[in-house]
């Protein structure tokens, strides 16, 4: 049975059974922490986020969670499961339906010294609150002359899920990535999820933390170091997931997994691809990307978001500025189709990059210079 049926709670109370029809959804969802005889543990991204929140709330009583359905419902995607029972309604706050309202309140609490973790049911709903995120949170430290810092984290699923339609599928990496004063993180694996969320909560600046609903159920191996309660990843450093010498592929969030699968396919054709997991859209790790391109001389950027003014556009410009003479081929940009996301499964599949698209683009990047 390849399909996975899930209840879609995120679509504002509308439920739609979803049949996972991506090839990637073959991996079974592992439950929390299963011990293998080789002692490498596996952890789902969901559990990684939940454990990170739990540990940070235990370590610092100023940290609190706020959002719709985060408490009694245990979280629309169960990321905040068990936190209400453990920390009580003062620290896990269920809110009325007003993103603008609870974001403004979270920012005010951060002004006064608390450390809110604001959950958006999806980042599509953050548009209701974007004035507070940008004008009240991102710009406050600067506008107040350094007097008001805002140690707030905005987190939630971002980008496409499966069959949730145009108003629930947009990627906001490029939008928030443009704003000075914000930090924008995009975890992929469970290690990313734990390390980056902890770093985000501890960071004195406002952080936009873009998760991915499909990845919540995916399992990744986690070392003892990752499980340590003080495990943090540095903000602004990308990770080279796969070393290579022929072409650089940059990706973030779910697309990292696609890029890795594409790289395996390309290997059979003799193309040795280096896959970079961005981890951070702002600050963008230009050094790692440029070092890689100077080594491989070719670049393919992958993202689910819209093409124009997207993250790939910024990476391309950065590489052209810093490493022009090292490029042997034009930069290939793969992005989501320039349409509001359609609902039906076949059209939705065509609207987002698939592994085959990455493979074809990479081949183009490799043969174009003749």
């Amino acid at each position: 049975m390849l399909g996975i049926i899930k209840q879609k709670v995120g679509a504002r109370g509308l439920t739609a059974p979803v049949f996972g029809d991506y090839m990637q959804k073959l991996s079974p969802v592992a439950s929390a922490m299963r011990d293998f005889s080789s002692a490498t543990k596996k952890m789902t991204v969901r559990d990684a986020l939940n454990s990170a929140l739990d540990e940070e709330m235990a370590a610092d009583s100023n940290v609190f969670v706020m959002g719709e359905e985060v408490g009694e419902y245990q979280g629309a995607y169960k990321i905040t499961k068990g936190l209400l029972d453990k920390y009580g309604p003062d620290r896990v706050v269920d809110t009325p339906i007003t993103e603008a309202g609870f974001t403004g309140i979270g920012v005010g609490a951060a002004y006064h010294g608390l450390k809110p973790v604001i959950e958006f049911m999806t980042f599509n709903f953050s548009m209701q609150a974007i004035d507070h995120i940008i004008n009240s949170a991102a710009k406050s430290n600067y506008m107040s002359g350094g007097k008001i810092n805002v140690p707030i984290v905005f987190r939630g699923p971002n980008g496409a899920a499966a069959g949730v339609g145009a108003q629930h599928s947009q990627c906001y990496g490029a939008w928030y990535g443009a704003i000075p004063g914000l930090k924008v993180l995009v975890p992929y694996s469970s290690e990313d999820a734990r390390g980056l969320l902890k770093a985000a909560i501890r960071d004195p600046d406002p952080v936009v933390f873009l998760e991915n609903e499909i990845l919540y159920g995916d399992s990744f191996p986690v070392s003892q170091e990752v499980l340590d309660p003080n495990f943090c990843l540095p903000i602004g450093k990308a990770k080279i997931e796969r070393q290579g010498k022929d072409v650089t592929i940059t990706a973030y969030s779910k697309m990292v997994g696609f890029a890795l699968k594409a790289a395996e396919i390309l290997e059979k054709d003799g193309i040795n691809a280096e896959v970079i997991n961005l981890r951070s859209i702002r600050p963008l790790d230009r050094d790692t990307i440029n070092d890689s391109v100077r080594k491989t001389n070719r670049l393919v950027t992958v993202e689910e978001g819209f093409r124009q003014h997207g993250v790939g556009a910024e990476i391309c410009a950065s590489v052209v500025e810093d490493s022009f003479n090292y490029l042997d081929a034009p930069v290939e940009r793969i992005a989501g189709a320039d349409v509001p996301t359609p609902y039906t499964a076949n059209l939705e599949r065509l609207a987002f990059p698939q592994i085959e698209d990455i493979v074809r683009a990479t081949k183009r990047a490799c043969y174009r210079s003749g």
């Binding site: 603008a100 403004g104 979270g106 006064h112 809110p116 600067y142 002359g145 350094g146 050094d287």
Partner: protein, 488 residues
């Protein structure tokens, strides 16, 4: 089984009514005339009704498919003057426990009126001549406090006049006066403690003034020089001071209202003996932020004072184009927030109301809404000429006859605490100080180039470090293209 019982019972009821000659064409009169004794209901109806959650009256109502909207919601024990009086044995007045609480039913088809015929009265202590109303329950005010309040009101007035002139002369780029709202500014600040947090809109510099922000501090911000608390990052009048617990002003309207609630939540968690106050205008009460903030504050039970300066105008938008409710005070009730309307031009009344509101907010951990009625005598800002959209007569009447500064002056002069001499001395003193502050601020250097890149983040990221280095290099290379008064 239940539905067939229902139809059968419905027929029985209708037959019962027909036999009592009570059916008329008008559904509402059915409600008025039906003697709804439980004995008049068929036994099958009673049995069905009692076995379900609904009471017989509800069942009855549903059969007739009519909608009864109560004028007010009462508890089962209270009786309103306009409720229909039924015979003693009638058991119509039932109560149902809905999610959210008990609601009493009424057969009266009445809509609560949306009109503002009966407005909420306005709390006032001093009449136009500065005389205190005899039988008011205000708090006694000491001489020192009253004199400080008045002096600061005058300082605010003088400061506004001179800064406004400075903008007209091109010395600062922008200014917005507080003219007409001096009592609101100073009296509300006087009723608070210094550790109560203030989330202002932008017409409340008097609160900062009361707490000790100096005239030089104000001038430095307006000129954006290197001593500006805000490091030259914002337009004039966007003051802020961590030391004085006054959060930096942002131009965005009403965003400070939910911020105040969040800060109050933080205070509540810390169990402090202090509260938060936030100010906004009549225009600000139209925003989504106002709605969400009041709603949340009531649900979260936080110690916050919502202070609305209803000054009649939101730039050029008069009240009638802003909302159709009885001002802002009635909106408090909609959210479950205790509210009061106060004469904003009466310093004593404002002081008294805020003092009491603060006590309530802290002791009962509740939000409180204060609507201060006043008038924006000045223009919205130096970018505005309000004579274009309102009559000069109107402006002059409020400026002269309803002037809050004059009224409070009469009050303290009647008490023998002030005189003409002290007045002219104080005014000329302040005039000198303000002019001095402006001259000094004008000559001070602007903030250094490093302040362009700092505070974007806690620690400057690599790209900003590179950009700053690049800018310095370019300025050094092409020095004549750049202003000479920007220190490196």
């Amino acid at each position: 089984m239940a539905s067939s019982c229902l139809t059968k019972s419905k027929t029985l009821i209708i037959n019962n009514l027909k036999s009592n000659k009570l059916l008329t064409n008008h559904t509402s009169s059915i409600a008025h005339n039906v003697p709804l004794t439980s004995s008049s209901l068929p036994s099958s109806v009673r049995k069905f009704a009692s076995s379900s959650r609904i009471t017989p009256s509800v069942f009855f109502n549903r059969c007739f498919n009519s909608v009864y909207v109560g004028r007010r919601l009462h508890s089962a024990t209270s009786v309103s003057n306009d409720a229909v009086q039924f015979p003693a044995e009638a058991s119509f007045s039932q109560v149902l426990d809905y999610p959210g609480g008990k609601v009493t039913f009424t057969p009266k088809l009445t809509f609560t009126s949306g009109s503002t015929d009966e407005r909420i009265p306005c709390y006032r202590l001093l009449n136009d001549n500065g005389q205190q109303v005899i039988d008011s329950d205000s708090i006694k005010i000491r001489k020192e406090l009253a004199v400080k309040m008045y002096s600061d009101m005058v300082t605010l007035q003088v400061m506004d006049t001179i800064f406004y002139e400075a903008q007209r002369q091109g010395r600062i780029s922008f200014y917005a006066t507080t003219t007409g709202e001096e009592a609101i500014n100073i009296a509300s600040a006087a009723a608070l403690n210094n550790n109560d947090f203030v989330f202002p809109q932008y017409r409340e510099p008097g609160v900062l003034l009361w707490r000790g922000f100096t005239l030089q501090d104000f001038a430095n911000q307006c000129f954006g020089n290197k001593y500006d608390n805000g490091k030259g990052r914002q337009m004039p009048i966007h003051y802020g001071s961590k030391k004085h617990n006054y959060f930096t002003i942002a131009s965005t309207v009403a965003t400070q209202i939910p911020h105040a609630v969040g800060a109050a939540y933080s205070l509540k968690m810390e169990n402090q003996d202090s509260c938060v106050i936030t100010y906004f205008g009549d225009g600000g009460s139209s925003t989504g932020d106002f709605h969400a903030a009041l709603n949340f504050a009531a649900v979260m039970e936080v110690p916050v004072i919502f202070f609305c300066r209803n000054n009649g105008w939101a730039i050029s938008t008069p009240i009638n184009d802003q909302f159709r409710s009885d001002g802002i005070v009635v909106k408090g009730k909609a959210y479950g927030v205790p509210s009061i309307r106060v004469d904003g031009n009466d310093a004593l009344a404002v002081y008294s109301a805020v003092h009491q509101a603060r006590k309530m907010a802290i002791q009962e951990q509740t939000p409180v809404l204060i609507e201060a009625m006043t008038y924006r005598t000045g223009h919205h800002s130096t970018s505005d000429d309000s004579t274009k959209y309102r009559s000069i007569d109107e402006i002059e009447w409020w400026r002269d006859d309803q002037n809050p500064v004059k009224r409070f002056r009469k009050f303290i002069e009647n008490k023998g605490w002030w005189s003409d001499e002290t007045e002219s001395e104080h005014r000329s003193n302040i005039r000198k100080q303000v002019s001095q502050a402006i001259q000094v601020a004008e000559r001070i250097e602007k903030p250094p180039i490093a302040d362009m890149f700092s505070d974007v983040y806690d620690v400057p990221p690599k790209n900003l470090v590179e950009q700053e280095a690049f800018v310095r290099k370019i300025i050094k290379k092409h020095a004549n293209d750049y202003p000479s008064d920007v220190p490196m």
